[in-house]
């Protein structure tokens, strides 16, 4: 007996959800679209938050920028939970291979003392900066408006925690898995004058209440100036370890290239919405990029002996990037 299922009528009555069809017409929608668009509640909330009664828990007034539709700033990567995790799991396979390669050949053990000292002072404290970035992205996720922007923020916060852990693994590889290098890196983070500008910068972002200003501060200024300085412009500081460091931080380079596609396009879309948005985001970008450059100068001076030139260069690159997003600084 053969069941000829084909003879049955499986013509769909509709191709997607109503809110998606109202945006694009009733045609098959992508998984990104169905997982993202209009998922956050927007109306008829019951109670004002005990901790912040001036707003609803989802409230467009938690930032000064205004969007007619917060589902305009989409993610060009089209990440939803599954595609995000699969992408990161793949990136992480390369991390595992690199650590295995470096450890097998003892590449870190063979480093000259100067390179080791610079890694200890210049690279390992970044794990704290990643943790600060994680706090900020988590804050934007909880405080922001619209799943299109907020969902990728929790992905980003997972990324920063993951990167903080990769940096920690570099420390453990350097110190023979004792953790001594990580304790030392924390002391550097807390007291070394080279890092205090950066630490003050990130602590100041922790108290920023406007979530989109925080978004600009973190994804444009902190990522563009400080992380790019550390991961792109500091090779000279790692001396004979530069190639090894490049291998072990490949995740960070890939992540930065990938995430900035999203974070840049969000800023670009929000700025393009109105002259007011453009003015606000431009002002925020200028403020935080300037601050990041000042914060980074002592760091680049200490690591590269360049009097802060690399910090300036990272700042210039970030300003140029901001200009391509339609901001006027």
């Amino acid at each position: 007996m053969t069941v000829q299922i084909k003879t049955l009528d499986y013509e769909p009555k509709r191709h997607t959800f109503g809110h998606i069809a109202r945006r694009f017409g009733d045609k098959p929608a992508s998984r990104y679209q169905e997982a993202t668009l209009d998922v956050q509640a927007t109306a008829n909330f019951h109670y004002k938050p005990l901790y912040e009664p001036e707003f609803w828990q989802y409230d467009q007034n938690k930032t000064a920028v205004k969007m007619a539709d917060w589902y305009k700033p989409l993610d060009p990567r089209q990440y939803y939970y599954a595609t995000y995790n699969i992408a990161r799991a793949n990136m992480n396979q390369a991390v595992e291979r690199s650590f295995a390669f470096v450890e097998e050949r003892g590449l870190l053990d063979k480093l000259a003392a100067a390179a080791r000292a610079n890694l200890q002072r210049g690279l390992l404290p970044l794990r704290h900066l990643h943790w600060g970035a994680n706090m900020n992205m988590t804050e934007i996720c909880q405080r922001g408006y619209g799943t299109a922007v907020t969902a990728p923020c929790i992905f980003s916060s997972g990324d920063h925690l993951g990167m903080a852990q990769i940096v920690s693994r570099i420390g453990l590889a350097l110190d023979g898995q004792t953790g001594a290098s990580l304790d030392a890196a924390k002391a550097v983070w807390m007291t070394d004058p080279a890092w205090q500008g950066v630490r003050k910068l990130i602590e100041d972002t922790f108290v920023e209440r406007d979530w989109f200003q925080l978004y600009v501060a973190q994804t444009l200024a902190v990522n563009g100036v400080i992380f790019d300085l550390a991961y792109k412009l500091s090779d000279a500081a790692w001396a004979d370890g530069a190639t090894t460091v490049a291998m072990l931080t490949e995740f960070m380079s890939d992540w930065r290239a990938e995430e900035s596609r999203w974070s840049d396009s969000v800023i670009k879309t929000v700025a393009a919405e109105s002259p007011d948005n453009k003015a606000l985001t431009s002002r925020w970008a200028k403020h935080w990029i300037d601050r990041a450059v000042e914060a980074a100068k002592p760091l680049s001076a200490a690591l590269l002996g360049d009097n802060g030139a690399a910090a300036e260069a990272a700042g210039e690159a970030t300003r140029a990037r901001a200009a391509t997003l339609g901001l006027t600084l």
């Binding site: 299922i5 009528d9 809110h19 109670y47 969902a151 997972g158 925690l161 990580l182």
Partner: protein, 504 residues
């Protein structure tokens, strides 16, 4: 001095809590502005025991693996038109209730755990809460993707976010989560982390997932299985939180007890919808709500509270009332939806003889005495062409937002009414539990967005039922009313007839 190599626990500590620092350029109280007003006292955050040790690389790896498998099943289900293997077309109404009533709360949990994952001062719980925030985003997104296929064929699914913000019975779960989301971070962790994820989770997910398994819904079963390892992490976090708070300071006990009482009762009221689903909406029954309650609350909850007794914590107030109500709640809820079927986005029906007999057997103390006669009368009225609809808008309980249809403890023939006065107004409640919750936080609960009040105030599209349905985007004649005669039924019957013909 030669340092020792790190053990696993110390290594994990370096990978998580070692990242955190005491801020000095900004005061800690400004960096963490929300974790003091609730009155919870934490002496030493470092005493937090990590409930699980998962670094991000391991997280990505496990979760990616699960997602690959899950989506392979979802793709196959769609390709093979798996919906035709359901026990009956009626089953899809369970899926409708799930997507409109529960998935949006997974989303709220995602944002709520992001809040806790940023604003709890202790770094250990912050990391765990962030992972749960990621997981809860997973749950809402995989549920949407799973049910997306059903939406292509069945009514009442396609407007789930719009309905969630508006439809009267969906304000029950929505207000529950809004309540948790607008509380401080510690109450949130007790409400969702402990009460919801630990104490009551089995009463929510086991009924839906085993209901799916019994009724041939392989896609829902698969996401249910796939979420199990997430849920076990969530449970360990929930239990760790409550123990930690109770261990940190004796002053925390009365605060935590009040929250446990409140969230137990709110949870019990919300789960009444699940009770109705189990007893009435599953074509193939798994077990009765009463049986589920006995296993998962009376037994499992009983030993949990025995364990927590050493901290001075007591069994939630009104647990005895809730247990007594387990004999009634599914029937009383189904009666409400049957009467208001014109205003609900899923279908209803009167149980057939076999189903009635099953209910009589499962509820020997109550069903034949209080409910079966009414069901038989309503079935007769249907036969006579006089199907019973209730066109009067019901009064809602100001706390749980369920129509006031529950009966007095110990007297199943009298509807329970309670009230409180606050700022010159009178507020109505379905039970002592709901009244106590209001009296504990009247400023908060006086704000409730009550769907029926809102209709009377003209905030819901107009004064008539069609106006309101329109405002709900509820497609009258398709999404609502009885299953018999619905487009869902017609399509299902076509498929079944076609399958028989093709097989023959």
């Amino acid at each position: 001095m030669t340092a020792k190599k790190l053990g696993l626990k110390q290594r994990y500590a370096h990978m998580t809590r070692g990242l955190d620092w005491e801020t000095t350029y900004q005061p800690m109280d400004k960096v963490f502005p929300y974790d003091t007003f609730e009155g919870i006292k934490i002496r030493d955050w470092s005493q937090w025991e990590d409930p699980f040790r998962l670094t991000m690389d391991a997280y990505w790896k496990f979760q990616a693996e699960k997602e690959r498998k899950l989506y392979a099943v979802l793709d196959a289900f769609a390709q093979n038109n798996g919906q035709t293997n359901l026990s009956d077309g009626r089953y899809v109404n369970v899926v409708k209730l799930f997507l409109t009533g529960i998935s949006p709360e997974e989303y709220q949990a995602h944002r709520g755990f992001a809040f806790a994952g940023r604003h709890l001062r202790g770094v250990g719980p912050r990391v765990a809460a962030q992972m749960q925030s990621l997981d809860e985003l997973r749950h809402v997104q995989t549920q949407i993707h799973t049910i997306s296929h059903y939406n292509k064929y069945f009514d009442g699914i396609g407007e789930f976010p719009h309905m969630h913000d508006r439809v009267w019975y969906l304000s029950v779960p929505k207000s529950f989560f809004d309540d948790a989301r607008t509380a401080g971070p510690f109450e949130y962790m007790i409400a969702i982390g402990f009460a919801f994820e630990y104490l009551l989770t089995n009463l929510l997910f086991v009924p839906f997932m085993s209901g799916a398994a019994y009724n041939g819904d392989m896609s829902t079963v698969t996401f249910g299985f796939s979420a199990q390892s997430d849920e076990s992490r969530h449970m360990t976090l929930g239990i760790e939180v409550i123990k930690f708070l109770l261990e940190q300071h004796p002053d925390n006990l009365p605060i935590v007890q009040k929250w446990v009482d409140k969230w137990f009762w709110r949870g019990h009221r919300m789960l009444g919808l699940v009770a109705m689903m189990m007893d009435y909406m599953l074509p193939k029954k798994v077990m009765s709500w009463k049986e589920a309650w006995d296993i998962y609350f009376t037994e499992a909850g009983g030993s949990l509270f025995q364990d927590l007794a050493r901290y001075g914590l007591k069994v939630p107030k009104y647990a005895d009332v809730a247990t007594a109500e387990a004999e009634h709640i599914s029937h009383q809820n189904w009666a409400v939806f049957y009467q208001y079927t014109h205003a609900a986005a899923f279908h209803t029906w009167m149980p057939d003889k076999e189903h009635l007999d099953w209910l009589s057997e499962k509820y020997p103390n109550t069903f034949d005495k209080y409910y079966r006669p009414r069901w038989e009368m309503w079935a007769q009225m249907e036969k006579d062409g006089k199907r019973f609809y209730n066109m009067a808008l019901p009064q809602l309980c100001n706390t749980c937002q369920i129509p006031m249809a529950y009966t007095e403890p110990g007297d199943p023939t009298t509807i329970a009414f309670r009230e409180s006065r606050f700022n010159g107004d009178t507020y109505h409640f379905c039970s002592d539990g709901c009244k106590d919750i209001f009296d504990g936080e009247p400023e908060k609960f006086a704000q409730s967005w009550l769907p029926v009040h809102q209709i009377f105030q003209g905030a819901c599209g107009g004064p008539t039922v069609p106006d309101v349905l329109n405002w709900y985007r509820l497609n009258n004649g398709a999404d609502n009313l009885d299953y018999v005669g619905s487009p869902d039924e017609k399509l299902w019957n076509q498929w079944m007839a076609g399958a028989v013909k093709a097989a023959g």
